[in-house]
């Protein structure tokens, strides 16, 4: 019996080895995760054709897992949010933001409210909100956590936990929308593209829940690549990836982000995000 077990252990370790030079990418799980693999597989196929290397998409369950995978060199390219991109680039020297969606240069967060609150559309961050229940999206989200928290602190001069009766983290933007729509939380803050997508798809009843405020614009999502890919995949690989991303024009592919097209971006575009994250203590000074 013990011998058998020892044999199994050896097999186990052998099986755990392996793998070749594959270019792997991931994306933060910010909305509808079902069929995520299927949708991003199309993007992987596109990149494989353009880059002439094996390309693989790997789904992760959290923003932090995306950052960790990037930092650990298990993925070389990632579709990050503003904050996760800053976190990742701070930990991987030489990594750079390659491209952002056309919408990302001027991204906004929507604050939404359930109709039972009696808040009118566009009524803003008023005193009335105090003492209600409120949900962010993921703890590591820019549009679902960082920027809304920043503006809440700025408006009320207090931490969200002090402003609201209860503060939750729904996990992602779609869930924020549905939690506020069912009244589980009275208020929520989310990525505006996800909101508009959900409304368009008929998943949200705008009689039940409404947008009460939108933040001023800030930079958000971007593609970030590791600094050492040129060494591993050949000279000029980074530029090839950038070009492939900027040239992506198939609406079906762009839909999975969802973006109209990609435009160039670089690290300095996100200095403001880093600044805000430091101010509210999400990144150490």
């Amino acid at each position: 019996m013990l011998g058998r077990i020892a044999f199994c252990l050896t097999l186990c370790l052998v099986a755990l080895g392996a793998s070749a030079q594959t270019f792997v990418f991931t994306a933060i799980p910010d909305e509808d995760e079902t069929r995520l693999r299927e949708r991003f597989q199309a993007v992987a196929d596109y990149l494989q054709e353009e880059l002439d290397v094996d390309v693989r998409f790997v789904p992760v369950k959290s923003y932090a897992a995306a950052v960790s995978a990037f930092r650990n060199d298990q993925v070389q390219l990632a579709w990050f949010g503003g904050l996760s991109g800053v976190q990742a680039r701070a930990r991987v020297p030489g990594s750079q933001a390659l491209a952002q969606g056309a919408e990302d240069a001027e991204f906004v967060t929507y604050f939404i409210a359930h109709k039972s609150t009696g808040l009118k559309p566009g009524s803003g961050l008023t005193e009335e909100l105090k003492g209600m229940t409120f949900t962010f999206g993921s703890k590591g989200s820019t549009s679902g956590r960082l920027m809304p928290e920043y503006y809440l602190r700025k408006t009320y001069d207090a931490a969200p936990e002090e402003v609201f009766d209860k503060v939750g983290f729904s996990g992602n933007h779609s869930r924020t929308a549905s939690l506020v729509a069912t009244g589980a939380y009275q208020l929520g803050a989310l990525n505006y593209t996800v909101w508009e997508n959900e409304v368009e798809a008929g998943n949200i009843d705008t009689d039940e829940v409404n947008v009460i405020w939108e933040t001023p614009p800030y930079p958000d999502y971007q593609w970030t690549i590791r600094g050492d890919v040129d060494e591993r995949f050949g000279k000029g690989f980074t530029d090839k990836v950038r070009k492939a991303l900027l040239n992506m024009d198939d609406p079906k592919l762009l839909e999975s982000f969802p973006r109209s097209k990609f435009i160039p971006a670089d690290n300095s575009d996100y200095a403001i995000i880093e600044d805000v994250a430091k101010q509210i203590g999400l990144i150490d000074e």
Binding site: L2, I5, L11, V58, K61, S62, G140, S174
Partner: protein, 490 residues
Amino acid sequence: MRRSASVSTSLWFVALAVVCAFFADLTISAHDPWGELARLFSGLLTPDLTRTDYLAEALVRTLAFAFVGVGLGAASGFALAMVFGSRIVRTFCAFIRAIHELFWALIFLQFFGLHPLTGVLAIAIPYAGVFGKVYAEILEETDPQPRDTLPFGTGKIIALLYTRVSQAWPQLVTYTSYRLECGLRSSAVLGFVGMPTLGFYLESAFAQGHYSAVGALLLLFYVLITTLRLWVRPKLVPLYLMVAPFLLGSGLPIRWQNVTRFFTEDIVPAPLRGGEGWSELGPWLVELLSTEALPGIWNTLVLTQIALVLTGVLTLLLYPLGSRHFTNRLTGPLGHTVLVVLRSTPEYLLAFILLQLWGPSMLPAVIALAVHNSGIIGHLIGRRSNDVTLRPDAPTGIERYAYELTPRLYGPFLAFLFYRWEIIMRETAILGILGIATLGFYVDSAIQEIRFDRAMVLILITALLNIGVDILARWLRARLRLKHTAQSEP
């Protein structure tokens, strides 16, 4: 005398739970909780397997992670049991099992990433700690006499195999197969943090409200657990163990420098890493303790207390379902099935479901913990009650329950409940990942903020809390003279 001590201890526990309930947030905040519940049930009635891609793969991975994880855990647990007399080994086992498998997974994710080793070790390590302890106890209880009949010079291992192990074999097998069932639950739940098992798809389907897909996944999981006895045959186990490692999937390659970095940089407290020196470590720790650890500990204790007492109450209500004194040939299997379904549902999953349905508060966690754990203890007490022989003219119905059986079973009941105490606390802490502000919430926050130094301190605190409760429970069991042997362990 003994009974009154048990009763007064119980009353103290109940009183404490009532006080805790005043501090706890137990509201249902969802607007339409029953509507959501109805949608879930209609999903269970209209399961749709086609909505989830890679379903077969998820199923295979769930099984593979369970087999490899439990296999490794059992093998190393057996080795640990050999040297369990050593205090260092005992402390080591208590420590590794005090950290929940999801916490282990979150730690390994940071340097092994999405590699099968993450999931395998997350199961194997805490299970090794449990196996070490229970195997040692089981072997301890065997008759030492056969050892003396062996010829002088017999090797230690051989002697052990032919005396203690051969005697204890049935108990060892029973216990190991019970842990395999637990391993399947753990394996499925690891999907919630990114392993490619059933939980991965369950979480996604739930997040989108695809209840038919949820229904399909849940039913598959129940089928897997309830049919366990049919396909896990002693003769087939070596085969499963040999095949399983090849079915884990390849994941992403490990880079070993990440392991070094994790231990030499990531988990070093920020002030030391930043070169601010030891003098800054104090304030850093104080800040962490006061803003996160203390509120986390408080909520963990409050929630554990309420869940423990509710588990006890539910167990007393449920055990007749598993007892021959209350069921007949028709209702017996039915009652058994109810208990199996209750205990098969991982509390993490149940809490997740209830949170979606009822909105955020401690209530979903309390209910989930009570339902799952009372399913387990109810089953054991029911089985224990079957050993009781009643007089032919014994009363029936409620009188039989109140005057004949419950008083006789109260001792074992308390023993089981105290045994589960530590487990309930470990689970309470982990439910924080779902958003209830127990210790797990702060651990998860620290990990999401990529501050592993803080996460490690909080995980250590969680482990110490569990060890503390375990010691307290053992002291109470001894004080109340509750006999508790390894064989009676669930």
